[in-house]
C-alpha cells in the first residue's frame, strides 16, 4: 500500500499539476478574503447579498470567515484533480502498467485515494494559512479588532472549521474519483461533476426545496459550513457519507471486475 501511495504522490508532485493547483488555491483564497475586507462598508458585501460588518469579523468567526468562503471552490478543485488523476489512467493507457506492477486493484484504488487525500490536506492547509494571513493583513485597514482571534475558543473554531472544510473537500474529490472511474475520461468526468455541483444541484435545491436535504452538493457544502439552522451538521455528514460510501463501493466493484482493455 505504501508503495502505491509513493507512486501516486510522485505523479501528484509534478510541477504542472501541483504548482498550478496550489497557485490557484493561493490566488482564490487571497482574493476572496481580501474582497471581504475590501468591501466591508458596502451594504451587500458577501455571498447572496448578505452583509458582514467589521463588528462581525471582530468576533472569533473573523479568523475563519474567508477560509469558509473558499471551501466550495476547494471542493471543486479537488473534484477536478481527483477525477483527472483517476480517469487519465484510462486515457493514457497507463492503468495496465500500474496493474502489471501492482495486481491488487483494491490497493491501487486505496493508494490513489490516500495520496489524493494528502494532496487535499496540503491544499486546504495552504488555503487556511493564506486566508488567516490576509485577514490579519487587512484587519488594520478594515478596522477589525483581532483580539478575539487569539483566544483558545477561536483556535477551536479554526480547528473545527479546518476539519469540516477538509471533510467537504475530500468528499467533493471522492465524487470526482467516482466519476473518473465511471466515465474513464477526464473531460467527461470533470464536466459532469462541475455541471452537477455548480448548476444542477443548486437548481434542484432552489426549485424543489424539499430535495435540498438529500442533495450531495447541498450536504457537502453544509458540512464545510459546520451546519445551519435549516440543516444540521450531523444530518449532512451522514447523507454525504451515504453517497460517498455507496458510490465508492459501486465503483470499487466495477474497478475490480472490469476488464482493462485500453
Amino acid at each position: 500500500m505504501i508503495r502505491v501511495i509513493l507512486a501516486e504522490l510522485r505523479k501528484l508532485k509534478r510541477r504542472t499539476l501541483s504548482l498550478s493547483t496550489l497557485a490557484s488555491v493561493t490566488a482564490l483564497t487571497g482574493l476572496f478574503t481580501w474582497l471581504v475586507y475590501f468591501r466591508i462598508n458596502e451594504p451587500e458585501n458577501t455571498r447572496r447579498g448578505e452583509h458582514i460588518s467589521a463588528a462581525d469579523l471582530s468576533g472569533q468567526v473573523g479568523l475563519v470567515y474567508g477560509f469558509k468562503l473558499v471551501a466550495f471552490l476547494l471542493g471543486i478543485t479537488a473534484l477536478c484533480v481527483f477525477a483527472s488523476q483517476t480517469a487519465q489512467e484510462y486515457t493514457f493507457g497507463t492503468l495496465r502498467n500500474l496493474l502489471v506492477r501492482q495486481p491488487s486493484r483494491m490497493k491501487i484504488l486505496l493508494g490513489k485515494l490516500i495520496s489524493m487525500k494528502i494532496f487535499a490536506l496540503v491544499m486546504v492547509s495552504l488555503s487556511a494559512a493564506i486566508s488567516i494571513a490576509v485577514s490579519y493583513a487587512m484587519s488594520g485597514t478594515a478596522k477589525v479588532d483581532t483580539t478575539d482571534w487569539s483566544t483558545s475558543s477561536a483556535y477551536q473554531l479554526l480547528g473545527r472549521t479546518f476539519v469540516n472544510v477538509m471533510i467537504s473537500t475530500v468528499g467533493y474529490g471522492i465524487f470526482g474519483m467516482i466519476l473518473g472511474l465511471l466515465f474513464r475520461s477526464p473531460i467527461s468526468s470533470i464536466a459532469i461533476g462541475v455541471l452537477w455541483f455548480l448548476i444542477i444541484d443548486n437548481l434542484f435545491a432552489n426549485f424543489l426545496t424539499s430535495s435540498a436535504k438529500w442533495l450531495p452538493g447541498q450536504n457537502l457544502f453544509n458540512v464545510s459550513e459546520g451546519g445551519t439552522p435549516i440543516m444540521s451538521y450531523q444530518h449532512s455528514l451522514i447523507v454525504s457519507l451515504f453517497y460517498l460510501v455507496g458510490g465508492l463501493g459501486i465503483v470499487a466493484i466495477l474497478f475490480k471486475r472490469r476488464d482493462v482493455a485500453n
Binding site: R3, R14, L99
Partner: protein, 302 residues
C-alpha cells in the same frame, strides 16, 4: 515445477458474439524466445492481456511461471511486459515515469538509471515523455518491462517505430536476455526478425492457434518453392500451365513464377520448359521464409 513459462488450456475470450480467442492450447518452454504471430485481430493482444491478469477469460485457464492466471499477484513480480505500445504520463520525464513504476513494484531507483542507459536513453531521461520520438517511447517501454529483472518478458510489438539499428539493438538485447535464462514471449509483425531470433513459435488465426512449436519444425514442414524466371515475361502463363499439368500450384510474383514443389523437381521443370520453347533466365529452389509460411497458413495475400 515444470519447465513451462506459459501454458494455456482451452483459453477462450468471448466479446458479445465474437470469439476473440477460441479454446487456445499452447505452451512456451522456459528460457526460449517465443514468437507470437497472427494477423491483426487474431487474438494476440487479448491473449497477452489475459496472461497479465488485465482481462478475465470467458472459459479455460492458463498458467504463467507455474501459477494460475487467476492469481496474477503470484507471478507478475517476476514478469516484465510491454503491452500495446508504450503508455506513460506525458507530463513526466522518462526517468520519473520509470520511478513511478519502480515505486509501485518496490524496485530500487538506481535500477531506473541503469535501464535508461541500457536502452539508450541515458542522456534523455530528464526529458518529458511527450517530447520523445516514437522510437524513444518504445525504448522507455522496454526499459519499464525490464524493471523487475524478469524471468518472463512479454513484449507486444517491441520494435514498432525503431530504426534499423534500434531493431538490431533490441534483437541483441532479447538474445542476451534469453541466454541469461529469461523467457521472451514476443509478438511482432516483423516476421523476418522473429525468424532470426525465435526458436519457438505460436501462430494465431481468427482466435485459433494454428501452430505452436519449434520454428524449425514449422519451416521444415512447409512446402518448398521453386522460383522460375522465364527470359520473356509473356511466357509466365504458359509456364504456370506446365506446372499445373504436373500437379503443382503456382502464382506469379513480379516477373517470377513461384511453384510449390520439391527442389528435386527443378530440373524436370527446366527440361519441360525447354521442350515447350521457353528459356528460363533463372531457376532456384528455396525453403519458404517464415513470412511466406505465415501468409500461406493465415491465407493472407501480400
Amino acid at each position: 515445477m515444470n519447465n513451462l513459462a506459459i501454458s494455456t488450456k482451452e483459453l477462450t475470450k468471448i466479446y458479445g458474439e465474437r470469439k476473440a480467442l477460441n479454446h487456445a492450447v499452447f505452451e512456451v518452454p522456459m528460457g526460449t524466445i517465443c514468437g507470437f504471430v497472427g494477423p491483426n485481430g487474431s487474438g494476440k493482444t487479448t491473449t497477452i492481456r489475459m496472461l497479465l491478469g488485465l482481462i478475465s477469460p470467458s472459459s479455460g485457464t492458463a498458467t504463467v511461471l507455474d501459477e494460475n492466471i487467476t492469481h496474477p499477484e503470484k507471478y507478475l513480480p517476476k514478469v516484465g511486459a510491454l503491452i500495446e505500445g508504450p503508455a506513460f504520463y506525458p507530463a513526466l520525464s522518462g526517468r520519473e515515469n520509470l520511478r513511478v513504476l519502480a515505486d509501485l513494484g518496490g524496485y530500487s531507483v538506481e535500477r531506473v538509471d541503469e535501464l535508461l542507459v541500457q536502452v539508450g536513453l541515458g542522456d534523455r531521461g530528464h526529458s518529458k515523455f511527450k517530447t520523445y520520438s516514437l522510437g524513444m517511447k518504445q525504448r522507455l517501454g522496454i526499459a519499464a518491462a525490464l524493471l523487475p529483472n524478469p524471468q518472463l518478458l512479454i513484449l507486444d510489438e517491441p520494435t514498432n517505430g525503431l530504426d534499423p539499428s534500434g531493431i538490431q539493438e533490441i534483437r541483441e538485447l532479447l538474445r542476451t536476455l534469453a541466454a541469461s535464462g529469461t523467457t521472451v514471449f514476443v509478438s511482432s509483425h516483423l516476421l523476418s526478425e522473429l525468424e532470426m531470433i525465435a526458436e519457438y513459435l505460436v501462430m494465431l488465426r481468427e482466435g485459433n492457434v494454428i501452430f505452436a512449436g519449434h520454428t524449425e519444425d514449422l519451416l521444415s514442414a512447409a512446402q518448398p518453392i521453386v522460383i522460375a524466371k522465364p527470359e520473356h515475361a509473356k511466357d509466365l502463363d504458359r509456364l504456370a500451365e506446365i506446372a499445373k499439368a504436373s500437379g503443382h500450384d503456382s502464382r506469379v510474383i513480379g516477373e517470377e513464377l513461384h511453384i510449390k514443389g520439391p527442389a528435386e523437381w527443378s530440373p524436370v521443370l527446366n527440361r519441360m520448359a525447354f521442350e515447350a520453347g521457353i528459356t528460363l533466365a533463372s531457376i532456384a529452389a528455396i525453403r519458404p521464409t517464415l513470412e511466406e509460411t505465415f501468409f500461406e497458413m493465415t491465407e493472407e495475400k501480400k
